[in-house]
Amino acid sequence: MRIELTYKKPELDGRISRTRRELSAAGMNAPASLQIVDVYLIEGIDLDPPVYRRIFQDPVVQDFFFDLPACGAGENEKWNWAVEVSWKPGVTDQTALTAREAVAAEMPGKMLPETAVLQTARQYLIYDDSTEKMEIEAFARALFNPLIQRAEIISVHDWDKGKRFPRIYPHTLAESPKEIERIDVASMDIEELDELSRSRLLALSSDEMRAIRAYYQNTETRNERSKTGIGRQATDVELEMLAQTWSEHCKHKIFQAYIDYQEGDHRQTIDSLFRTYISATTDAVSEQAPYIRSVFHDNSGVIDFDSDHLICFKAETHNSPSALDPYGGAITGIVGVNRDILGTGKGAKPIFNTNVLCFGPPDLPREEMPEGLMHPRRIMEGVHRGIIDGGNQSGIPVVAGGFLFDESYLGKPLVFCGTGGIMPASIGGESSWIKHIDPGDMAIMLGGRIGKDGIHGATFSSLALDEASPVSAVQIGDPITQKKMIDFLLEARDRGLYKGITDNGAGGLSSSLGEMAEEAGGIRIYLDRCPLKYPGLAPWEILVSESQERMSLSVAPEKLESFLELARRRDVEATVVGEFTDSEQVEVFYSDQLVGALSLQFLHHGLPRMQLKARWKPPKRNHESVPQGSPADYRRWTLDLLSQPNIASKERLVRQYDHEVQGQSVTGPFAGKKSTGPSDGAVIRPLSGSRRGAVISHGIAPRYGDIDTYAMAACSVDEALRAIVAGGGDPDQVSALDNFCWPDPVESPDNPDGSYKLAQLVRAARGLFDSCVDYGIPLISGKDSMKNDAVTGNKKISVRPTLLISMIGIIEDVCKSVSTDFKQEGDIIYLIGETGEDLGGSSLEALHQSCYAQVPVPRPNQAMETYRSLHAAMQKGLISSAHDLADGGLAVALAESCIGGENGCKIDIEHVPGNGGRTTEKKLSTSAVLFSETPSRLLVSLPPNQEEEFIEVLGNQATRLGTVESGQTLQVDRDGTEVMSLCLEEARQSFDKPRGDVW
């Protein structure tokens, strides 16, 4: 049966203007007129039409059609084409899930019959008689993603001949065989092992397959296996579990590898990048950072917020899924990292999201697009919508982040999703960051059901993307199912109903229960008890499926009943799927039969470490000298920079995120009288009764990596830190997350420059270590994604090595924070820090498509001194505005502070100090002063009556530039002679240029 709804007046359907924009993002001309019909397809449910009407219709604005096509009715008859987009079987359809719930509420016993099918579809009626068949097909392609959806097209001509849309779409998936496959791994030779890894998509190397073979050959294993009766052969369940647990995604094999590193004459072996540079950072600064609670081993990093509360923070990437299905990939990324917070310690409440989204150039001409890839605008449209729905529907504000455009992201977008959470420092009389999983505890799966979605996600993300990439890797998150689960979990947590918790992400139950088993000392898992979305999953698929919105918990037997009862009342499905043991084994059962048995020791510690080669030599670049221009040139360059997608205002995009829900916002994404200036980071006040706050910021600078990833990493740390300081955060109370997204750094015939990319990784890790140690910043959590290459045809597109630093700092009193906009005429403008001729890798370099020599490198000790002084000045309330200098240097920062403040300025740059110190003889070039991206610099303004005290605090770290003017001109002189002048209005227009046109 079909239920269809249309708006009585098409102009009341605001989705039409959105659809038009989606079409234009896909490079299509929207048809003359367009109407949307919402379709519900129902089978196996018997309710009266008035009940359906009550469930689905908004009687004020919608017409309701019961088993009668809307497009055949009255007004709608003038259409030329009808396109109906529906979901492929097995794909998460969020609306259908809610519709099932709403229909069930009307059924006796509030239950749907087992056989009930409920689907949704969206029909587009196109009124345009000039449109040809070809065009309509292209049009349809712009409205759906063939990986997850299907579209049916009917012309009015065919309609008149009686053609109709289906009464129900196919809804069953091919059933997988439920028999356990047994593989004689022990007697395989290496070719057979490799073939096994390939054909089963295990993504394991020859060495790893050898280790698995050795395990099955081992006498002890054989004896044990013959005792339990599972037999000497490996089962598919075991191999899949090993592949998930040992995936790059879960085990970070490259960060754990032995690396033979050579740089000139210097050669060394690095025994794990993670230990040598990442955890070593935190060890080195732990004394300076007594606020660290739990780092690296839990699902997120945990720090003190105040004496009664802890904050946790984590960022993930979801790149490969977003390349395939931008919407599903992004929404899954965001709800996935939310679960990391929920699964930290005894469970924290997510209070903010962050995201940094990297795409190819949004204005790239379509004819320049490589075959087989989606245009960046389309990827961006989908990812952006995923982030919007993921955050907004969960009630978690997006407080900070950014968009970054670079041609190297054409193949794979980078989708960094971060979440912060809060929990009481103590729960049930114990530190909240400690969790318990003990033998005898029940293993519970909570939340969504298991389907075939996301099977092999963890192994898939460890492979390069090509045209044959599996569609089963796609998942679509459902924030509302998860929101219900979050509410339930926090209630259950506070009532002490569970002991341990972790999220189901990559690798599904295999990873979550596998990890928890390590804590307890063993587990028995009963796969046939796991609730499924539909029948037909093989046992191994149940174990590794990455179906969303699920958590795994340990519950004490005596609390089980209360736990399950509360879950029932909150409409959250909870199922006992196993029990924790002390057997030192993971034992997996299906229909009372043992189908998998692996030693915990082997599962978690049997992975052989990789041996990799890294060779560094400075890249060859033909450096050009930095051009010096006329005042007209400087003006043009500044305006051009302001309109670059990387710098221009993202207001239109960011306003679509709820950035204020939960009522904590102090500094939002915008600054100034009319909120038109950009902020450097966010300030939130998580606790309503306290003025203590958190400042959140990011640093990312992939272009610097063209010259040296060491500098790139160090500059990213500084960028995030100075944004924290600009927002009012205490530079001595910050913590950082590192997220590396790299092109494949393992050398092979297909990847001849792998050893250079690995050397870039080594240098980046080193830059991160050195700068964090110098600044005293602990790394509290991190993640890496190592195969960000896309192969299309014969061409490989690899991302620029990219490191995102996400930072969180403490501000004692949020009312001491300042924004980036100039506040008032007459305020004095100061530049903090020293400037170098650092234009290598800069925005100006990108604008001019040139190659300049010098990449900036921070000087942490000097910078820290400056940051502390500036923070002290802010604590005294001496400063009215602070804005960090980043992309585009002083010229851009100055323009942004003026745009936000809606005023002009008059400055003289003659006395801007070079970073050779104040005594340097060599004068800085004007290009450098205006556009150099030397780190550790900020632009501040203050009222004249506080200047004296300000100077006392800052000393010679601040240089007086000039004043804020009421006029509408940004006037820049050098020693009294004009070097640049632009009017505020043209700056504003440039800053806003991509709006409407590019996004």
Partner: protein, 252 residues
């Protein structure tokens, strides 16, 4: 003390800050899961105010507030009627407003819970988070907006466009003074710039802007411009009106 019931569950998400606003306004609050209320409607008796916070109840998948509205119509209609008839007050914000409208409790001109108005997709088709200037019409019958003239509050929605079933309804709204909040500059195509309405009793208010988002000066996006305003944040004033009314009416 005035006791306020803050609804939670099923995707409601602005409950915590609304509770905070009521506490600042001098009330006591309890967060009650919709399911618990359905199971035991008597819970309502101990409250003087019922608040429907913002959020995305049931994902807004079948239309904003629609599924939540049906839950109330089906399970709590009489209880809600009794609650309102006894002089108690109701507020619905954003998704809460959408739910009140779709269950027919607002504006309820005919008194029979028939849906008379709606909130549909914004004309630009997007979710938008933006602070907007608002005016409170002086002829409004709402106890919640009494004495308020104008303010700025954030709107944070994708379906905030106010529409009516017919011209009769909009006349009814005007004639009875039920237009409680209007946009100074229409952000989404709402009929007659309407941002919030009340019922004929003046005790039920629904509005798209978020008063609970402006209960401290520094929540305003340009709070750190030089001159701090001497006035109490207007979101708090609105909530206080409800609490003062209930305190007075019920002598608590």
């Amino acid at each position: 003390m005035v006791n306020c019931c803050i609804l939670t569950g099923y995707g409601i998400n602005a409950d915590r800050e609304l509770a905070d606003a009521f506490v600042r306004a001098g009330a006591e609050t309890a967060s009650i899961h919709v399911q618990d209320l359905i199971e035991n409607a008597r819970l309502l008796d101990s409250f003087h105010i019922l608040a429907f916070p913002g959020g995305f109840s049931f994902g807004d998948h079948l239309g904003s507030g629609k599924v939540l509205a049906n839950l109330f119509r089906r399970n709590l209609k009489e209880d809600l009627d009794r609650f309102v008839a006894s002089g108690k007050a109701v507020i619905g914000i954003c998704n809460g407003f959408q739910a009140l409208v779709k269950m027919g409790l607002l504006p309820n001109l005919a008194g029979n819970w028939e849906q008379e108005v709606s909130l549909v997709h914004n004309d630009h088709g997007l979710f938008e988070d933006r602070w907007v200037p608002l005016v409170f019409p002086s002829d409004s019958n709402s106890l919640w907006t009494k004495g308020l003239k104008e303010t700025e509050l954030p709107i944070r929605n994708g379906e905030g466009r106010f529409v009516v079933r017919s011209g009769d309804i909009s006349r009814g709204l005007r004639d009875k003074g039920l237009v409680a909040v209007q946009y100074r500059k229409n952000p989404n195509g709402s009929l007659e710039d309407i941002a919030g309405i009340s019922d004929p009793s003046g005790r039920i208010l629904g509005l798209m802007p978020h008063p609970e988002a402006f209960i401290r000066a520094e929540e305003h996006p340009s709070w750190n411009q030089r001159e701090p305003s001497p006035h109490e944040p207007s979101g708090l004033s609105l909530i206080k009106n409800g609490v003062l009314y209930a305190a007075d009416r019920f002598g608590v």
